[in-house]
């Protein structure tokens, strides 16, 4: 039936791919605790940079839950020259396990720490 080495290679890869994909999804489905979305933001203050009129602070958002957050709104708060300032970013979808890169824009270099809070999200 399989008449050459290439056919055997194709069969082996195919079987591995199908078993791997379906197996992974089955296991994932079984161990899925259904935990609600849990967004976690890692600010990269060291990688912040200045552009004309703004101070950009890059960040990575992760989701520690099992469910996807939709229309996630994140708010960064910082003090610049003694005045408190807020910056909001909306993430369309935050799937579990996937990193989404965002950037907050502020009017200048912040005096102290930048804090980030989750304003809200939708469950799809």
């Amino acid at each position: 039936m399989r008449q050459n080495w290439l056919e055997w290679v194709v069969l082996a890869i195919s079987a591995a791919a199908v078993v791997g994909l379906v197996g992974f999804l089955l296991v994932d489905g079984l161990i899925d605790g259904g935990r609600p979305p849990a967004p976690r933001v890692e600010l990269m203050v060291d990688a912040a940079y200045e552009i004309p009129g703004a101070w950009i602070v890059p960040a990575t958002v992760k989701n520690d839950g099992d469910r996807t957050a939709e229309a996630l709104v994140l708010r960064a708060t910082a003090t610049i020259d003694g005045v408190e300032e807020e910056s909001e970013v909306t993430v369309d979808y935050l799937p579990p396990g996937t990193d989404v890169e965002i950037s907050f824009g502020l009017s200048g270099e912040p005096d102290g720490e930048v804090t980030v809070s989750t304003v809200g999200f939708r469950l799809p």
Partner: protein
């Protein structure tokens, strides 16, 4: 390497003995054709935003169910379409696993090249995307193995392929309905993940839906039994109750509705939806599904004298 060369020498001897089916270059050509057919059918959905999003919006078990349904369609299509009809069930199953596997590899490469999966993508997200996108690609791979193969590819089976099976007895009424269901799935899958069926269904007045149903039935009936497409059939009544043009049209429509319901459920469109919304979007999506069901029946259901023509010409 030496072993491989030796292997090829043996293969080319086998090639002389058994025909072109056994050589590595033929297998390679089959693979390229399979990948091409897969992309031909799968590309629209590889470029569909909702497909990417549904990888993480759908629970894992729903994706497994969809892949399972696709596998059944692939097995059934190979069994019914009559290509290499001498195969045993084991061979059929192994070939179908191969179809799914090729589809998985093709969608992985395509998603990587399109930048839909990458190092920053979560594993579950990536696997979900590959599993969903491999469904339409697998249908394409499956078609590439039968409908899109040139007759010279396998001379002994040439009369069994081309546009359809060789004789009308090859595909019975139920086989035709199965193909109708598979083709309905293939067509409707292109629309089902998007927002449009929901909008159409919600915004349609009840009398519009009542008009859409007979319009769908009339058009699909005409496509298969009147419009004289290649593979179309004359108005003939067979032995089985499903062998009548009217009953077959109705049954194919019912199958299309079921396929649409399955898809709407799978893509979460029935969650929390009212009955009128579910009926509306199913009827609207079934227009597309029925066209697929008609096309599928055209593909397998033609009378023998009609399908022989293109092969004689080639």
């Amino acid at each position: 390497m030496a072993r491989r060369v030796h292997g090829e020498a043996v293969m080319s001897k086998a090639h002389e003995r058994n025909g072109p089916k056994s050589s590595v270059s033929t297998t390679l050509r089959d693979l390229v054709r399979a990948s091409g057919g897969g992309l031909l059918v799968g590309l629209p959905l590889l470029y569909t935003l909702e497909m990417w999003a549904h990888s993480f919006l759908l629970p894992s078990w729903k994706i497994v169910v969809l892949v399972g349904v696709a596998f059944v369609v692939v097995v059934g299509y190979s069994a019914v379409s009559g290509f290499r009809r001498d195969r045993t069930w084991t061979e059929l199953l192994i070939d179908s696993v191969e179809t799914m596997g090729i589809a998985a590899v093709v969608s992985t490469v395509a998603l990587l090249l399109l930048g839909r999966i990458g190092a920053e993508t979560g594993l579950r997200d990536a696997v979900g995307k590959i599993a969903l996108e491999m469904i339409p690609v697998a249908f394409g791979v499956s078609l590439a193995g039968t409908q899109l193969a040139s007759p010279e590819d396998d001379p002994e089976d040439a009369e069994d392929q081309g546009s359809a099976v060789a004789n009308e007895g090859g595909v019975g009424a139920f086989g035709r309905l199965f193909i109708a269901g598979g083709a309905a799935l293939l067509f409707a899958l292109n629309i089902a993940p998007t927002e449009e069926p929901v909008l159409l269904g919600v915004e349609a007045e009840w009398w519009m839906l009542l008009l859409v149903v007979p319009a769908t039935l009339a058009i699909t009936f005409a496509l298969v039994f009147y419009a004289d497409f290649r593979g179309g059939r004359a108005f003939e009544v067979g032995d089985s109750p499903l062998d009548h043009p009217f009953t077959e049209t109705l049954a194919a429509y019912a199958v299309s509705l079921l396929v649409c319901l399955l898809l709407m459920w799978a893509f979460g469109r029935t969650d929390g939806a009212s009955w009128s919304t579910i009926v509306g979007q199913t009827v609207m999506l079934a227009v597309v599904a029925s066209f697929g069901a008609a096309a599928g029946r055209l593909l397998v259901g033609g009378p023998p004298e009609k399908q022989q023509q293109p092969q004689e010409a080639s």
